[in-house]
């Protein structure tokens, strides 16, 4: 799993940080690895993602996936975001992720999607996203 590209994103994460003017912000964790990721999003008037950033820490897979995913998301509409599934993230990573590590890989995607749902009022009480085994 630990191809050069993954390690590179882990060492030098893209879009790492926080956005003080975020339209919405959401946090999630993967309790089995202790991975934690917060995603901040600034939308434009078409509900497309103008800027995105993530922060948090955890294993290389979760952090690299967040780095690679956020790079892809810029420009996407929230509807397009919701249409992504786990295979899209796995394709992005470009390596075979073993079943027990898939939770790590999809954490950022799930956080972004849940954040958008909460923003749309579709998920109400959810305070934090959790990826279960």
């Amino acid at each position: 799993m630990y191809r050069q590209q993954i390690l590179d994103h882990y060492r030098n994460p893209r879009n790492y940080g926080e956005l003080s003017d975020a339209t919405f912000s959401h946090t999630g964790e993967n309790p089995s690895c202790g991975d934690e990721i917060t995603v901040d999003v600034v939308l434009n008037e078409n509900e497309a993602i103008e800027r995105i950033a993530f922060s948090g820490d955890g294993c290389a897979i979760s952090q690299a996936a967040a780095s690679m995913l956020t790079s892809e998301l810029t420009g996407m509409t929230l509807n397009e975001l919701q249409e992504l599934d786990r295979d899209d993230v796995l394709d992005l990573l470009g390596v075979e992720v073993t079943p027990m590590r898939i939770k790590c890989a999809v954490l950022a995607e799930k956080v972004a999607q849940d954040g958008a749902k909460i923003y749309h009022g579709e998920l109400d009480e959810l305070e934090q996203t959790t990826i279960e085994g």
Partner: protein
């Protein structure tokens, strides 16, 4: 006896080949397990309601687990642990499919039916029951539920009431309607009685429970082995059975619970694998079903159970049921031919695959011993339904119980042994 079909929907001779133990001889020393030189009579195994025999496919699946991918599950990243985890988790899916549950979150592996009953009694009953509340059971309950709810009720101050059994071994449904009242919080009953063979009207009882806002817990230990069961269709809130009674291994049982109910219930056993996060001060719980599975689970046994369900589905549950019903009706007819034999329970053509009986003037233990002298394995005792036996006026009864590999010849051997006991004690 000519009224029942002579041919089975199963190719029993071929099936028997899958069960090495059915080729055993018995009769010699019992302190050294396995066939010895002095074991010289071919075994007739008619104690399937106690435990069924185990086909090669099940034993081989477990051997394969131990020899090629044995590892602890859930949190392991290494190859073997992933293989074991996938197999263990998929075993839940397989069970869900087999009994018509919605998915793995509704399937909790326990060690047996008894623990499934206790799990709900402790996790829900001990917390929620109190004075004024009532648990309704039946007079034909197995000790697994009877003693459990009786004791939990005692500890919480709740009442217990037992739906009466009629002369012909059915539940008195008028009494059921009375007993299941506004105070009732739980109705727990056997799907099929392991002592009488009665098949209870599950849907009706579940409906009655729901009408008064009570939960319905169906003990399926004697039904899942020999008929197609759909917990969704019967709308049971909880349902339980054991692996060892349906061609599976010992050491594993199943609790089914509706996801929305299990979601609300607090955990029962505490420990590893059932927590989400732990501090020295407090803990939070994993998702279903893991919240109810503390510690290293029965992994090999889950693999064996999966193989057992595959085996049964390959044979076909409808055909298994038809085979058992024919055999049971035949045994019922033959035994009732003896004037001095009392057969308990409903008539022969609508019952689970077992016949409980007594021979006048002969203690059931003696009867069972004499059958054993004929290499016919039946059970004698109260079959964990002691209060029911009190109402039957019998300290004990003999019970022959059948499964997919039994034959009419074996029933004949039983009848011959019983006849021999009659003559001995005449």
């Amino acid at each position: 006896m000519a009224t029942h079909e002579q041919t089975s929907p199963l190719d029993v001779a071929v099936l028997r080949e899958e069960f090495p133990v059915l080729g055993r001889h018995v009769g010699g020393d019992v302190t050294a397990p396995g066939e010895g030189a002095d074991d010289d009579q071919p075994l007739v195994y008619l104690d399937n309601a106690a435990t069924s025999q185990t086909p090669r496919a099940v034993v081989e699946a477990m051997t394969d687990y131990y020899y090629s991918y044995n590892a602890n599950v859930h949190r392991g990243i290494h190859h073997l642990s992933q293989e074991a985890s996938v197999a263990y988790e998929e075993a839940h899916d397989r069970v869900a499919e087999f009994i018509g549950a919605d998915g793995r979150e509704e399937i909790v592996f326990t060690k047996n039916t008894t623990e499934a009953e206790n799990l709900i009694a402790y996790a829900w009953g001990l917390e929620e029951l109190g004075p004024g509340d009532k648990v309704v059971m039946t007079q034909m309950e197995h000790h697994a539920s009877l003693v459990t709810w009786q004791q939990i009720a005692k500890r919480t101050g709740a009442d217990v009431e037992y739906i009466r059994v009629t002369e012909d071994g059915h539940l008195d449904m008028d009494h059921a309607r009375e007993a299941i009242d506004e105070n009732t919080q739980m109705v727990s009953f056997v799907h099929i009685s392991n002592a009488l063979g009665t098949v209870n009207p599950v849907e009706e009882l579940v409906d009655q429970a729901h009408e008064v806002g009570a939960y319905a817990f169906v003990d399926g230990a004697q039904s899942v082995p020999n008929r197609s069961v759909d917990v969704g269709a019967m709308d049971a809130d909880f349902f339980s059975f054991s692996g060892h009674k349906l061609c599976g291994p010992t050491g594993i049982g199943v609790l089914y619970g509706k996801a929305e109910i299990l979601e609300e219930i607090q955990p029962y056993l505490y420990g590893g694998d059932m927590i989400r996060s732990v501090t020295y001060e407090d803990s939070t719980w994993e998702e279903l079903p893991w919240k109810f599975e503390a510690g290293t689970p029965p992994i090999a046994e889950a693999v064996g159970l999966t193989a057992a369900l595959d085996f049964l589905d390959d044979v076909g549950m409808e055909r298994i049921q038809a085979h058992e019903e024919a055999l049971t009706a035949y045994a019922y007819d033959r035994l009732t031919e003896f004037d001095d034999v009392t057969v308990y329970g409903p008539p022969g053509d609508n019952r689970g695959g077992l016949v409980g009986f007594n021979l006048e003037g002969v203690h059931a233990h003696d009867l069972s011993s004499i059958c054993n002298d004929h290499a016919v394995a039946i059970r004698a005792g109260d079959h964990c339904t002691q209060p029911l036996h009190d109402t039957l006026g019998a300290a004990a009864s003999a019970r022959a119980s059948f499964y997919l590999y039994n034959t009419r010849d074996e029933v004949d051997a039983l009848v011959e042994a019983v006849d021999n006991a009659r003559q001995l004690f005449a």
